[in-house]
């Protein structure tokens, strides 16, 4: 851009600093925001080493103890297993049901489409506490008559419900972004509708489905408000932490919370690495 014949413009140091700051302002503030997001995670990590007494609030000294036996506190690992099971089952069901709904909503014209849109949207615009309260009343006053009492099953039913709309919206966006000409081409080449779907459409929307499943799992895994209403005596990890917070959260919960964070990051980074490797191999 600069021509070599003119003498190069040398701004003063202050001016250069100002230009550098202007260019990097967005990135610098973004890094600050990310640090802000991680600050409580760092606290959780640090206090997992706290040699605490009854409550784990003030720093009292370093210990490996909690990392050596994270299940040492009664209930903490049981609640984690429950959370993982609930997350797995509700993610699976919500992803399947939601993907089917998304296909219907994008690819078909039918009576009642507007009503279906509202049915999908309203759960996302309803505060969790209202959904939890509504589910509690129906579970206690209605479904208990048919032998369904509060516990694992009711948690799973509720989680599938609130994950469903988010799956539909996510998968729908993916289907809408597909070029319909690709499918038309498959049909022109005498693929049956079933073949077109499984060989062409499905692989193309798979990243959207995977993203939706990830979202559903993280929503389910971190849910407390609805779970608290419908869980009865069953405990999930967030519920365990909340109940424990009245007496003092044991550092073992910090160990587990921080480990889940690290595992999630590693899994996602790993999955992205694999998919970019695959993409590179396709290019070759």
């Amino acid at each position: 851009m600069t021509s070599t014949t003119t003498t190069p413009y040398r701004p003063s140091t202050a001016k250069r600093a100002q230009i550098w700051l202007a260019n990097h302002f967005a990135m610098l503030s973004a890094i600050l925001v990310l640090l802000y997001l991680f600050l409580p995670v760092a606290y959780t990590f640090a206090f997992s080493f706290n040699d605490h007494g009854k409550t784990n609030i003030v720093w009292q000294g370093f210990t490996w103890e909690h990392w050596q036996d994270p299940c040492g506190v009664p209930g903490v690992c049981g609640s984690l297993v429950t959370s993982l099971q609930v997350g797995a089952i509700s993610t699976l069901v919500a992803t399947v049901l939601g993907t089917l709904m998304a296909l219907a909503m994008v690819r078909y014209r039918f009576r009642g489409k507007q009503a279906s849109n509202v049915l999908i949207f309203v759960p996302m615009a309803t505060p969790e506490i209202v959904m939890g309260a509504a589910l509690l009343t129906i579970f206690v006053q209605g479904f208990s008559n048919i032998g369904l009492s509060l516990g694992f099953t009711t948690i799973v039913f509720a989680h599938i419900m609130f994950c469903l709309s988010f799956v539909v919206v996510t998968v729908k966006a993916r289907i809408q972004s597909l070029d319909p000409r690709i499918e038309e081409a498959a049909q022109d080449l005498y693929a049956s509708p079933m073949q077109t779907f499984w060989k062409v459409t499905f692989p193309l929307i798979l990243p959207g489905i995977a993203g939706a499943a990830m979202l559903a799992f993280s929503l389910s895994f971190d849910d407390f408000i609805i779970t608290n209403f419908v869980s009865g005596n069953e405990s999930t990890f967030p519920k365990f932490v909340y109940v424990a917070s009245r007496r003092g959260i044991p550092a073992e919960a910090n160990v587990i919370g921080f480990s889940m964070f690290v595992i999630a990051v590693l899994l996602v980074v790993g999955a992205q690495g694999v998919s970019s490797l695959r993409a590179n191999r396709l290019k070759d």
Partner: protein, 303 residues
Amino acid sequence: MSALAHVAGDPDVTPAPPAPEATKRGWTAYLLLLPGALWLGVFFVLPLVQLAAVSLQSRYPGFPGYYYRDVNFQNYAAALTDYAPHFARSFLYAGLATFLAFVVAYPLAYAMAFKAGKWRNLMMICVIAPFFTSFILRTFAWSQILADEGWVAGTLNFLNVLPGGNIINTPLAVVAGLTYNFLPFMVLPIYASLERADPRVIEAGGDLYANGFTTFRTVTLPMSMPGVLAGTLLTFIPAAGDFVNMELLGPQRGKMVGNVINDQFLAIPGGYPVAAALSFTLMAAILVMVFLYVRRFGTEELV
């Protein structure tokens, strides 16, 4: 709200060249829709109908905690008169938190969309990953960070800018907690809509001698409006119904409506009808706000 797709980390969602027309007709659509719609019917609509019925029940005179089926709007009157301050606080704190989240989220979303380059995916992971530490653990961590003996309160007190002398157990801490907890729901939709914007359009603003701020106000911000809209809704709605931040960070008195509903349901015997009326009032208020807001600022189909 297709901007939501990015909450799930699907970076490939871009508008299709020619919009695929929904041309297929027939019964297949109903078959595809049926299982999910049935699920939402049984576990969303039906419970709300039951909640509505509960909210209209009447007290048995002489039997505290017992109610009978009725059509009685007394509970709504009680909900609106006794708990009006709680509603006001919920909407005020949620509104403040939404605004603050917008201010904090925008630079991050902007940097992710235009400046991050190859770091984009990593930044996206960084935004979502804290979810896995459990928001209750993180909120508890905030109660440590903001505690009176902590460095935040210490610094602010040293600078003499903290009126009451403490942050924890004040509404300020509640707003801070709400802002923090729902921040990712603001970042991701804004990022999604900025990412779809053409950076050359923004450069054109600069070429036409608009300064940075004018370019932002007249070009960048309008282009990201669908994301801002989705983000503010996804932040405001859960914040208005939240009770955990108030419970862990807030004062003993002056609770939000979410705390009242939670206590009425789970701690006070026979509290169901008033709690049900409160829930419905909260939901109706939010739906009306969402409707007006989307009518005023909506730029695209919401779902």
